[in-house]
Symmetry: D2
Amino acid sequence: MIFFNCDYNEGAHERILQRLMETNMEQTVGYGEDAYCQKAAELILQECQAPEADVHFLVGGTQANLTVIAAALRPYEGVLTADTGHINCHETGAVEATGHKVLALPGRNGKIRAEQVREAVRSHREDPSFEHIVKPGMVYISNPTEIGTIYHKGSLGKLYEACKECGLYLYIDGARLGYGLAARDNDLDLPFIARHCDVFTIGGTKMGTLFGEAVVITNPELQKDFRYMIKRQGGMLAKGRLLGIQFLAMFEDGLYYRLGEHADEQAMRIKHALIEAGCNFSFSSSTNQQFPVLSDAKLKKLSEIYAFSYWERVDEHYSMVRICTSWATKTEDVDALIRDIQNL
Amino acid sequence: MIFFNCDYNEGAHERILQRLMETNMEQTVGYGEDAYCQKAAELILQECQAPEADVHFLVGGTQANLTVIAAALRPYEGVLTADTGHINCHETGAVEATGHKVLALPGRNGKIRAEQVREAVRSHREDPSFEHIVKPGMVYISNPTEIGTIYHKGSLGKLYEACKECGLYLYIDGARLGYGLAARDNDLDLPFIARHCDVFTIGGTKMGTLFGEAVVITNPELQKDFRYMIKRQGGMLAKGRLLGIQFLAMFEDGLYYRLGEHADEQAMRIKHALIEAGCNFSFSSSTNQQFPVLSDAKLKKLSEIYAFSYWERVDEHYSMVRICTSWATKTEDVDALIRDIQNL
Amino acid sequence: MIFFNCDYNEGAHERILQRLMETNMEQTVGYGEDAYCQKAAELILQECQAPEADVHFLVGGTQANLTVIAAALRPYEGVLTADTGHINCHETGAVEATGHKVLALPGRNGKIRAEQVREAVRSHREDPSFEHIVKPGMVYISNPTEIGTIYHKGSLGKLYEACKECGLYLYIDGARLGYGLAARDNDLDLPFIARHCDVFTIGGTKMGTLFGEAVVITNPELQKDFRYMIKRQGGMLAKGRLLGIQFLAMFEDGLYYRLGEHADEQAMRIKHALIEAGCNFSFSSSTNQQFPVLSDAKLKKLSEIYAFSYWERVDEHYSMVRICTSWATKTEDVDALIRDIQNL
Amino acid sequence: MIFFNCDYNEGAHERILQRLMETNMEQTVGYGEDAYCQKAAELILQECQAPEADVHFLVGGTQANLTVIAAALRPYEGVLTADTGHINCHETGAVEATGHKVLALPGRNGKIRAEQVREAVRSHREDPSFEHIVKPGMVYISNPTEIGTIYHKGSLGKLYEACKECGLYLYIDGARLGYGLAARDNDLDLPFIARHCDVFTIGGTKMGTLFGEAVVITNPELQKDFRYMIKRQGGMLAKGRLLGIQFLAMFEDGLYYRLGEHADEQAMRIKHALIEAGCNFSFSSSTNQQFPVLSDAKLKKLSEIYAFSYWERVDEHYSMVRICTSWATKTEDVDALIRDIQNL
């Protein structure tokens, strides 16, 4: 069985493990206050051209999301998101568990637009019962989105502008950020992102670390006492250096970007093979997640060898699946898959 | 100015005040453990033909909703509701503040149907990521709904059946229950309601008390330690007898029902006048809330004398408003309004 | 049976009921935005000589406490209190329910001192693990305290100074404030209190209203969006004017103060009778709550006619009880009690 | 500098890293549902002789504590603990963040006794205001405690018996369990522990894994839907196998126990050297944490080479420090420390 079902099937890039081996018996202080975390943070800030930002390393994405959101909002505020947003769909109410409503807006290709944000805020403000309605306090987006689509300088810039106009924070969940940055049609880079949001994450787990998300807080208002929040929410790793070492390995010579490129390239190869085979795609993704619509017969055939994520039934005879590549995807496995697509 | 904008503009029915006066200097124990609360509870249980149920008196509706829901759900469970549900729209995230997600379903006339509940539960159970998704634990409906519509024996019976099949609690918010019971097309009564849900409220505030909602818990699973929950959520009234005295006054000779009838009757008179005047109605309500669509010119005219709740703009020239009658509505005020509608 | 067990056995002062009667059928807007609430707020601010402060009216004390504390603290902050503080002992964890730790300090006569606050903050700051420890964010005191003792200008002034030095908010729970202000040895007044804390309450429930606590927010930092918080916590009364009308009646001609004086006077009479009868007192209270130590034999005798609150066993033969007077205490009942004490 | 300040200065035992290397490129399902987690769970249950128990792997101790406690308690319930308990002191209010009060009892040597639990429950039940007081729902202990002391069959057995009598769950935080099991005076083993509590953890982080706590739930009442709770609290690791692989390495041939023995042995050597040098000890610990009282002069001298945790000032000239050994402590470092103690 060859797994194309998600991007965290394997362990970590070999360099990560090597670094963990090399540093294993060093004695360091705990809880992320060691020299590795400090160096990794500096490196990330350099990449972001954001020397005044803060970087914190957390183990997982849900943890990062709930901690950032709970730290940023006043108790009666909620967070706007596309209806497909990870915090709305797949975190078992982790944000609500911190007391905040998730305010879902209808997404278009998994994304929300500046106008939607403005309209949501206007509609709240003009409602005579506004105090009886959760106040929007933050916008959450993911890039790439949960369906593989990406924001561009235009759309992100406008969204940030709308947020600032409306007094909202903008938070970008970058669980798969590397796959977004490597997309052929991408025009974002870390410095642009850092200048066009209040806080964002650079995901490690899905990009080749064992685990870990770097939370980059560019807005000084959100920086104060963030470590208290991490500890309160149960997210402070005792051997915090494990996070620093991994992100250091990722960013010391651009490995992070290269792994993103590899995955996207393989995803594009599969996508083209599917297009040539006559498949439709529900979303136009240029990143490592592809959502083709396959006839059940063809799906059954491919599923004998390859594991995909079943997404949803399209009609009586067709289903949509998710095909994921990752930093770990082997070119020969993609070769095989393409051959089998061609022979369907 | 004559107010038809909501059903809590006045104080309380005169009998309520009289009873409060009569009992004012009696010394009783606090926190709802006095003889008046006990008698009122007994009376209500008798009306409900539910001798094994528990009755608790809370001051307000949001308080009742959040306390019931937080008491019933496990931390990772959410509550299904119509998208127009009060807990979803007008409680400033009070349910989320207790850590629970509100799971909105598209309502039809403010109501949800048994099939929607079954489908929501099925879809959750069959999702391979089910543990990453908030688990439905309760269904919340209001009767009448926020737009004045009501459930019938058929629809409520099926909904309750679906809940039991799916392992969900059914909670009925009866903030305006009396107006529902008095509707011409209503076939529900308290005993039927008590047998077809796990917990419900009988609203006082909008029905002629100064304040107060009676929470009737018919499912023994939800009865344990409920008073702890009330206190924890800040909802335990020191002079609890004020609640008992008021509900006693309401139910000792059927005043509650008569007040409902009065309001609905007046609402129907207004409705018919509006229909005759050629108005459209967005929802078919037979209770004390009516939602006519009026031309802006006519609305402006009427608004010189009468206050309505502005609901939403329908198009360039028309708006929907809410017209509310209540236990306190004067027949002569309705006469005047009808005359003015006829003369528009 | 004559009740001296607490100060909320009766309904309300007759003037309150009269005012509710007089205004009963007026139509007003809801949720505390009516003219009565506005006038009552103005009157209170005038009494406090604090024209810039905000006043909000809530139904109950626990509700007021949890709403104020949850509004003021960041998620990882806690509230310092004497171990006997109401929020620590008798609110079923209502503060913890909003996510905040109650940080109990050993009280002396129910009070905490400036040095204790400074020491708590110093100890937190100097701890190398400070981020792993709840950060003090607020000091909660009650005046009178839960055991009837009061703060003076000296002690309150120093406490407030310590709070400002340490970056903490000071919150005074004035559930029985009127009984404190009327005490013989009291030197506080509303303007001094308003200038020496960030937020405080003026309690109505125990002072002769049916219910109601006025929350006075003097620190502008705490004023923003407080009504959202009230609604979120389930504390917004639909017929909010009931609160305004009651506080108006209390403050329009000093009734509030006179009721406090009456209760304290009666309490002093009982206290002196007990002292003459050779009773010891655990706490030196000059307000309406007295805590004599009585032999079980004498207690049994008195309990045939009078109800007290049993507080705790002192030794094999003696118990401490709480004897409460209130705005409603009849002089002749106190006469009778004194006679029976003298004849023990 | 040689670090004796805590037991998580290094990475992981070499075997752990080796296993992670060997399995690194295998493709497995995520979120702890892989074969490694399953095997590790089976092994642990075998060690515990508790085939019916459930095992879940979480990343950290605070996370494990807050998830277990929030899963077990009803909203109005609190958790009893020694005042020195980790949940009370060093988790930034993580338990309160889930809405529950931590009920601290005065510890003796960091432990609480059966009588204290019975008394706390009795005192709550007999209080006439019991519904206004947080209800004890669980007892939390740690073994070894935060100050290195351990429970024995007698004390643990009685505590569990008291819990069952009182209707409380007993939870044992075993963050350092291996150091407890290896103590010379220990008589506990995993099967006894599993039979005498409702849920406990077997700590990895401080015992030689990179991270990880195994939560063993023996009481079936607590087993249902626990994975939802993990996800909701942000504690579900995407590459869950990392936890399974580590615990497998720890338990496949008793490595866990041997690492505990090594650390305790080294701690005893240091302890004896200190005793011979005339030091006093505040607590009688037989595990890897020792708390000697040292003169400031001697402490300063030793601190030139060795790092300890400063605990507290004892008097003008003496301080208490914590000296920790661990699975990673080198015998030659202990030799050097002992020599330097002898030469003080």
